[in-house]
Symmetry: C2
Subunit: 109 residues, 2 copies
């Protein structure tokens, strides 16, 4: 995947899609955090929230890797997990889109 070239226009599409997915994950995470805090009744529940955030932060840091060498995999994963739609990647060159679709079809097998 390292040999893909990203044009300026493609980089814009990629950045917008990447950020949109991340915002959706953050939105869900903020909702879950608010729910946990609303149900919080005793001190040790603070550490349950802390463990939850530690886990989510590690996973999001690992998943949202904006290196161009990784973006095809990142986008395939985000679509597979439902954080992004293929339509939001419109504007990427056909070679990239077909690679993402290939990865997706393999993931669905």
């Amino acid at each position: 995947m390292n040999d893909f070239k990203w044009s300026g226009a493609e980089k814009q599409v990629a950045k917008r899609a990447f950020n949109a997915a991340l915002e959706r994950e953050y939105g869900k995470l903020m909702h879950q955090t608010r729910e946990m805090v609303a149900r919080m009744q005793e001190g040790t529940h603070l550490w349950r929230l802390h463990d939850f955030l530690t886990d989510k932060r590690r996973k999001i840091d690992e998943k949202y890797d904006y290196r161009y060498s990784q973006l095809i995999f990142v986008f395939a994963r985000l679509i597979h997990e439902g954080w992004l739609s293929l339509e939001e990647l419109e504007g990427l060159h056909e070679d990239k889109l077909s690679k993402i679709e290939t990865i997706l079809s393999l993931a669905r097998e």
Copy 2:
């Protein structure tokens, strides 16, 4: 401090005071957490909350050390920080109370 003997009655007083201070710290921490969550507007604020909880958890774990060899220091610190009053330790032997008072007076110097 290792040579202090703790009677059963003293252990009860110690446990109750220890837990009372911890509950107060938890209460303040839950209040701060609720405030941070109420002000949370974007995803990265989640990590600000996470950093806050990481720091507090580490400090509380370190501070609330219920080994009898440490309790005199722990109580002096909790009183110094305002989480506990000397009156709540009524029932401990005079040797322990005076040691705590000595530590407190040194801390105030």
